[in-house]
């Protein structure tokens, strides 16, 4: 039963990883930008949450929509200014610019919030309460809620991409930017919207992460970015549901590794990641949902 528990925990963690990963996948799919600051954006969102809760005393769950909106606006603005300027100078420039952004964010956070780790909603009962199935499988309600949230976010994104005016526009620009422009599409605006969505989703992930564990200024690149990359690669680049599958596979692999030996948690995750790269480099879902 301990193994079943490990697998269940890993599966639930996969939801959080999918939330980390879907924005990364979307940005790459639409504008071919590998956002090396993606993980740090989750951390920034977490700290904004910490700040908002400290100042306004809103309940921790209420901070989520506020931070998501703030991050989405930041995403649009950053895309239209800094990242767009980098895109026009070539793919390598976007790597360097987002890497620089990552360094600036991490050092900025250390400056303002110190290197100490912090949690959101520490001690709130809804975060710690759980239920058990049988004697050994213990499921935290909040972990289950995050998994459900991830599925809801992905479903909403999928519906948005297939049915809405802007979703269609994003798909058109992702497919052929020049042809989309000749159809009258202002691709910079479309990129901005895609970035707003990516920043919004990673903001949800950042706050959730701050609630389940703690956040510190450098976890953005230390863990979040790496887990997001691994999830995207395992699931298949450019596929929304692939990020969930990739996140779940990564989460389960880590949980099983930790069950064998607590020191093997990360190792097991990356072994599976490498295995997928060798056997199926296009990812498990080579072609899935639009994005």
């Amino acid at each position: 039963m301990a193994w079943v528990n490990a697998i269940v925990q890993g599966l639930l963690t996969g939801g959080l990883y999918a939330l980390f990963a879907c924005g990364l996948s979307l940005l790459f799919g639409v504008m071919k930008v590998v956002n090396l600051a993606h993980g740090d954006l989750a951390t920034v969102a977490g700290y904004i949450g910490v700040g908002i809760i400290a100042v306004t005393r809103v309940p921790v769950l209420w901070s989520i929509p506020i931070v998501v909106v703030l991050m989405a606006v930041l995403g649009y603005v950053l895309q239209r200014s800094l990242i767009q300027a980098a895109i026009t100078r070539g793919e390598l420039t976007t790597l360097i610019v987002t890497f620089g952004l990552s360094i600036i964010i991490e050092n900025g956070l250390q400056q303002f919030f110190t290197a100490n780790s912090r949690g959101l909603g520490v001690g709130d009962s809804f975060i710690t309460s759980s239920f058990s199935i049988g004697s050994q499988v213990v499921i935290a309600w909040f972990n289950l809620a995050i998994f459900v949230l991830a599925v809801v976010v992905l479903l909403a994104l999928q519906q948005f991409m297939t049915r809405s005016r802007y979703g269609r526009l994003i798909r058109a620009v992702a497919d052929d930017r020049e042809a989309a422009q000749l159809s009258g599409a202002d691709y910079r605006h479309v990129f901005g919207i895609a970035a707003a969505i990516a920043f919004g989703t990673v903001a949800i992930a950042g706050i959730c992460d701050g609630m389940i564990t703690t956040i510190s200024p450098t976890i953005g690149t230390d863990t979040i970015l790496l887990f997001a990359f691994a999830s995207v690669v395992i699931g298949g680049l450019g596929s929304l549901w692939g990020t969930l599958l990739g996140g779940v596979v990564l989460g389960v692999a880590q949980a099983i590794g930790a069950q064998i030996n607590p020191a093997w948690e990360q190792l097991a995750g990356y072994l599976v990641f490498l295995l997928v790269l060798v056997i199926r480099p296009q990812g498990l879902t080579s072609r899935g949902a639009a994005a």
């Binding site: 005016r165 269609r168 526009l169 798909r171 058109a172 497919d175 052929d176 020049e178 042809a179 989309a180 422009q181 000749l182 159809s183 009258g184 599409a185 202002d186 691709y187 639009a290």
Partner: protein, 256 residues
């Protein structure tokens, strides 16, 4: 005198040593049909790039409908009324035919949700692919792709349609179908500039023709005049215009 719909004023464009346009001036009136011929590599497609906004000229001005558009990008020019097709059709392959055209109607045509659906449907009707509206564009054959390419340009509500070798790779009956589509579009007042190697297709539609070579236009007149021009025949030597084609065109023009 009213100003022309499209005006290129002393436009120069070079890629390194390759000259696309050298001090080129050219104008097209509303509702006019102009054919552009020229040998491969003469820069015909690049000329369209200069008009549609994909390329920025090194010097000179481009005006459209009384506005200087030299500094506008292709999306902005599309919204002003310049529609363009690509030589090799570039549909959004993962989207349905209808979605392809819908994006064009909503973006280029600046139509709201309610108006864009009938507009997209009308563009499909005009080009004869309404029957394939729900087919993913990636699954279309060449003729259907070319129809879609025109439908997408039409959905943006153009005043000027730039056609880049739409007849290339098609059979004669297929070319005839396309020519009739373009003729119907022109009859509604849309000006057409058509680059084409298939001279037969051009001469059956356009009233004016010119030849692009070495960054400048050689000859500008009726198709018969231009094809009979010794300079045009010289740069076109060895390509698909032969004496009999020219005779044919001249004869047709002379006919009542």
């Amino acid at each position: 005198m009213t100003s022309p719909l499209l005006e290129l004023d002393r436009v120069t464009k070079r890629f390194g040593r390759v000259v696309i346009a050298e001090d080129l001036s050219f104008s097209v009136g509303a509702g006019e049909t102009v054919g552009i011929v020229g040998p491969n590599g003469a820069g015909k497609t690049s000329l369209f790039g200069l008009i549609s906004g994909d390329l920025a000229p090194n010097a000179g001005q481009v005006s459209f409908a009384g506005r200087t558009v030299t500094r506008l990008d292709s999306a902005a020019r599309c919204r002003l009324g310049i529609g363009r097709t690509y030589q090799v059709p570039r549909p959004f392959v993962d989207m349905t035919v209808f979605e392809n055209v819908l994006v064009a109607a909503q973006q280029g045509g600046r139509l709201g949700r309610k108006a864009s659906y009938p507009a997209a449907a009308a563009a499909l009707e005009r080009t004869g692919i309404a029957g394939e509206a729900n087919v993913p564009a990636g699954r279309l054959g060449l003729l259907a792709r070319k129809r879609l390419e025109i439908a997408r340009a039409l959905a943006t509500g153009p005043q000027l349609l730039l056609l880049d070798e739409v007849a290339g790779g098609l059979t004669d009956p297929e070319v005839t179908v396309l020519v009739e589509i373009v003729r119907a579009v022109n009859a509604e007042g849309v000006a057409v500039i058509w680059i084409e190697h298939v001279v037969r297709a051009l001469t059956s539609l356009v009233t004016r023709m010119t030849c692009l070579y070495g960054g400048e236009f050689i000859g500008d007149g009726t198709p018969g005049e231009v094809l009979a021009d010794p300079r045009v025949r010289e740069v076109y030597l060895g390509s698909d215009i032969d004496a009999s084609t020219i005779q044919q065109v001249i004869k047709e023009e002379g006919a009542p």
